[in-house]
Point group: D2
Chain length 379, copies 4
């Protein structure tokens, strides 16, 4: 694996490195960690990389690695830059024959995402998008419960993602994470909606399989001087008639990373909290409440395939990335061995990326429209 | 106290009786418990009332009691009927000189509520509305925290009230509670919104003091054959610029009575769950999280004045009614003694009733309007 | 009902009053609230009692009330004094023909408790002991689960009761509750063990039906100047071979009233926390975890008979007293009507009182013995 | 790193591999994964190791690696075998110049542990023991709170470790984990006490710094046919006068891995649950309750140094091993660079190992003694 972005002062780069190497299936062999060659070198050194494979730009990395003999050169790139670089880096990698793992959201805008899909389709290479929260065993179980009909017809989805780290103008203090996430040029058309709202939307669709028919959004910028939304609230009509409420925020003072989902069907409802990720509750009016826990009792093959520890030994955030990377590695290996990848080891790809970008654009459009109530969801 | 409604097979009548007599300040002396004289008699007997003071109708009760000598006759009526009888019963009681405690929502519609206010004002009598959830000590503390500025400027309110008891057509099975609550003639223009949405709205306004400027509502009837909404989701703009999300439902399968509120300000946020009512959490990005508990450490006078037990001895639903009844009794006593009632012992009245009815009408109006996004809140 | 003890500055008197009158089955008609006639009068006045039935001593009350015509005089006494007065007051009441409800522990020592049983047996009157925590619906359900074999053979019981209110010499500050509870003359041979350890022991025995065979106790006085234990830890061998750990404390800084029990059997285990009393968890290695909630789904008749509210409307401490008083009233009424009381409406009596006193004496004996490991439990 | 034990069907080997490679500081280069050469080969292949460095025995591995040139050979061994092999493997590694990371408990018995200390001292090499639970950031914070006096004088410790996976004779079903853990020859003198009781004891001592003065233990074998305790309950006197209760079990039906600790001091108490590891509660009677969370607000340098993710991104079990391995790697690197290791990056060593083995032996001794109450803790 070669990494694009993710120098030492970044956040998500280290997460991808830990996630990718947790299972010993993937080795980081090279990187272009920063637009600053100096920073890239420092990062490569700290990671004990061969200095000759620490590059000054992703283009250099891709071109040089391409020249290395097979078996020696990197097998794929991992893109962990700010959003605006996702598309050009992914495009260049794919067009030079490298598979891609990319942080979310897929691209800077919907047009790029559609274009990226074309490139992926034409090259036939593998593309994974790290919508990591769907990697939790209990989310696999939740999807399984919906798929197997245990919830009946889905009627209501409440998905929320309150955070509080942007309650003031952090981006003006030199905090790098805040700086690019609040900058339209690097982040795209939305702030909180793009950064975390897309996770919420992806989670709801992953579990239920429902698609948005129309939505009504209310985005706000609370912190003076900020250019992108730091709060968003959305009413949703799903295509099957289910109703949804999606709200996310980065100004919910004191909230950490409180992604939660509740799905209610005619037969039962489920509740899951990301901050207590190994617990899933299923309940119904007449049947009471059952607590499903990672690796306790009899679970679906899907949940088991994404579990590493015995019951009660907490698995967390890093394992969600590890699950995507490991499944991506399995898919790669299957390809090399001429086999069909096992659908048990799923991971998000460009279709989820396109939906995420469409979600951002539809939400922004709806929010800007203060007259019409419902915005038809268009891709 | 004389009770109107609340026969043995009702739910809320018994709650009012228990709440009113918990502190020994109020005694039930008479009642017109049902439109069936037979049922009323049975209820009176079960409550050990003097049979001569168990009446066949509220009019009879009010007129007969009025004739009794002062000190012997009831001091006030408690109205616990379905909604459509609130107004005529309250009007008749007030016009005959009796103070009133009334279950919420205040009346069948906004016009009645406004009319009722006029009658209250002209008679000068005391009217209490049992929006009981504001009677919890931790809600008093929450209001105190907001009032004293500990949250800073309020930016976001998330208030939710999912229940699951109406996931199917319970009203067709002869269940009395479901029957009148889903019948427009007895319940009013809204179902879930009227029954529980008004509690959510009242709770948010009580704690924050904010008023709704405009809203965008999406009400749904999920259960076939039902006439009133069993699910409602609302986006709110408060007058100070704060954003709100209010959702309530009676088809959230497996949910019991899950009234929850989160209020986020520039300085801190608070979280409260009705099903764990003696706990209030206050948190902020930099200050971390503090758990405030009923009767632990140093609390506001408001919280203390509504607490009966030492720390860790759970107080619950019945105490919220008791707090309203006791405070109402204190106001009555103050009046008799020519004193000004102590504002520490507050309770909701007709103004909250008007707001609740206006909330219902504005929400229904907004929901029916599928074109315009925002409905200006009008009273 | 006539009350002995429970003046305005007491704690448990008000709890008994609220509990007894919650359901409208019992009316407070007279009282001897304090050894100070002045205090007794003040209390009676605050409770709106007829001044002629507010007495200066319990003996006066019992003798005067006895002279009143049947139907007018009190039916029973409620004893809510410090422990040392339980026995003489109960004895005098019983010997003059009055039934008794008494706060726990039953008496000052085991000998008194045994003597009291003889008096109860010879008079044939009804005696209730307010071990209130067994009045929670979820405890009724827990007992039902054990009785019906859902846990299999019981192997281990962990019951704990940490409090923190006596972390310093509160009794020296004039705090009345602390003063008598730490005074051997009024409280008996044990402090924390008598006050709360007996609740823990009673709860374990009520749920499981197991009896203590032998125990090994370690009591400590942590606060200098205190005369009775403020901390106790006990290993228990139950008669069926089950192992127990019982610990209680009043110096667990920051703990409120944290009575908890876990019972593990060969088939399943249960967990209950008093501070979240409407939740009971049943779990097993292979079956996972089920959350049982007051009035949700299908529960035992025992649990239902002690529930007042719909699901999700918290019931708490006052209802546990109300359940004992109501059941006592039912037993009284059955007696008057010549019927057999319904065993569904159970309440603790003198047998539980004797066991509690024996528990105190055996624990104190074991703790004082620093040589022998096991103390055979003797009654 | 070379691994001893940890073939594919083992549990803890994979944990050590994941923990050691999470941060990219340590690389697995060789292994003797099983006493079966076949199994060892299979494991090595699955881990993509150079087949020439997959050995048939730990002796072979140590001798062969020793012959490799510096920089090429492994730097240390990681011992993840059943207990009885810890000592011989560690001894052989140390005597041949390799540093050691070893799973707990340190050895098969106390004598071996003492002997091991001598070898470590004489070779001057580094030895780490994976008492992993002390690697959680919130445990670092807890220790910091005690050390900095925020709890005052420690009075009471309740530490518990209930599990339920051995409720029946799992060891007879061919389950490898159960088989060696219940076999005295491979596991040592104690079952549950050795496997998990030592973790509980280590956790209590790590946080508080207190030492056991005397104890009173009650071990039981509940499952017929089992040779070692599956349940243990212990009263403890700490050297400063604090009281302790330690209980652990593997027959608590339905419990997963429920290691919990509560420490109460004169100024405050703390509560921590391993299954919710990123939360630490500190509370006091007068100050109320504060929830400390990983990476929220201002924490100690110790907690921060063991944290990888932003607030609300759950860290779990694998990170506790990673913290020990990373700190061990830092110590190794410091040694190579001639520097003093930074005490911030601490890890358990042979002293903790000796205490753990002494704990086992003293507890077993006390439990076998049914006459004398207190067993003086001897090392």
């Amino acid at each position: 694996m070669g990494m694009i972005g993710g120098s030492l002062d970044a956040f998500i780069g280290a997460v991808h490195r830990r996630g990718s190497q947790l299972d010993g299936e993937i080795e980081l062999v090279c990187g272009a960690f920063s637009s600053s060659a100096e920073k890239s070198r420092e990062t490569g050194a700290a990671l004990y990389l061969d200095p000759s494979r620490v590059y000054g730009s992703y283009k250099e990395m891709i071109l040089k690695e391409k020249e290395l003999p097979e078996g020696e050169r990197m097998d794929f790139v991992s893109i962990v830059t700010p959003n605006h670089l996702h598309f050009p880096a992914a495009k260049f990698a794919l067009e030079n024959g490298f598979h891609v793992v990319c942080d979310k959201p897929a691209t800077l805008n919907l047009a790029e995402a559609k274009e990226l899909k074309k490139i992926i389709d034409s090259t036939g290479l593998i593309f994974a998008l790290t919508h990591n929260y769907t990697g939790y065993p209990m989310i696999k179980e939740a999807k399984h419960l919906v798929d197997s009909g245990e919830l009946g017809e889905i009627r209501k989805i409440i998905v929320e993602y309150p955070q509080g780290w942007l309650i003031d103008l952090v981006e003006a203090t030199g905090q790098k994470q805040a700086a690019w996430r609040t900058d339209p040029a690097r982040c795209g058309a939305a702030g909180a909606i793009g950064d975390i709202g897309t996770h919420a939307e992806n989670l709801a669709e992953y579990i239920t399989g429902l698609e948005i028919d129309e939505l009504c959004a209310d985005l706000t910028i609370f912190v003076e001087g900020r250019q992108l939304d730091d709060d968003g609230n959305i009413l949703i009509h799903y295509s099957n008639g289910a109703r949804g409420v999606l709200h996310c925020s980065q100004i919910c003072n004191g909230e950490e990373n409180d992604l939660n989902i509740r799905v209610y069907g005619s037969k039962a409802g489920i509740v899951w909290h990301q901050m207590d990720p190994n617990t899933l509750i299923i309940k119904s009016r007449d049947g009471g409440s059952r607590t499903i826990r990672t690796n306790v009792g009899s679970l679906s093959a899907q949940a088991q395939a994404h579990t590493r520890q015995p019951a009660g030994h907490p698995e967390g955030y890093v394992e969600t990335f590890a699950n995507i990377y490991r499944n991506f590695a399995f898919a790669l290996r299957a390809r090399w061995e001429g086999k069909t990848p096992d659908p048990l080891y799923d991971f998000p790809g460009i279709d989820e990326g396109i939906k995420g970008m469409a979600f951002i654009e539809n939400v922004v459009k709806s929010s800007r429209d203060n007259k019409n109530k419902w915005t038809k969801f268009e891709i």
